[in-house]
Amino acid sequence: MRHSTVLPLAWILLRILVVLNWVYGAAILGLVIFANSNPAWFMKAIKVPVGIEPKPIMVGLTAIALLGVLAVPLNHLILTRLLRIVETVRLGDPFVAANAYRLQAIAWALLALQVLSIVIGAIGKSIASKEFPLHLDAGFSVSGCLAVILTFVLARVFAEGTLMREDLEGTV
């Protein structure tokens, strides 16, 4: 386990994802600005049928994109905390109080992402119609909720584990 290749790979992957996350955020923001300055081109690009009022679709998609941009700092928080946890594992000392706090922060961020996803899904449904079907990979997710609960539980496990280790260290 100490010589596992998974951890170095995870560390590299997380570093790449941290950068990609900001690139994704910048790309979404750029698209929002461009789409709002060229609405006619954008409506044509996403194939909005003629005869449908474009304004609600534009407002809805802009709101979805901005909520997507909001997810960027949350993703950053998750990725950087996970990176620090991986570093402590590589150093051979993961059962520290800091990791319990990091896991708790990740759990809250995952919860916030779930809420964002539900709001995005609701907006998507409100602007979708028979003429303009919109299939978004957003909304309530059982696996997402399970991930939130699992991370909160793991944070508690780490907190208890840290206390137990402190006790064990003082045991003669």
Partner: protein, 70 residues
């Protein structure tokens, strides 16, 4: 801390050093030193048994409770 470890007194009575005790009970000198100075948070029954065996004493001779209330 209300629990006082009287290892120093026991060793003095038996003219034994901490190093000698450590070598006989197979516990590191560092850990015994932690116990002697009262910095330990807990003591294993196996440690207590080994110390009592070598020093020919009872657990009560090694550990003493002193109330905080004056």
């Amino acid at each position: 801390m209300p629990i006082v470890v009287r290892l120093d007194d026991l060793l003095h009575d038996r003219r034994m050093t901490l190093t000698e005790l450590a070598s006989q009970i197979d516990i590191t000198l560092a850990n015994l030193s932690i116990l002697k100075t009262g910095k330990a948070r807990a003591i294993r029954f196996s440690t207590l048994e080994a110390i009592c065996d070598i020093l020919e004493c009872q657990p009560g001779d090694l550990l003493h409770f002193e109330s905080d209330v004056q």
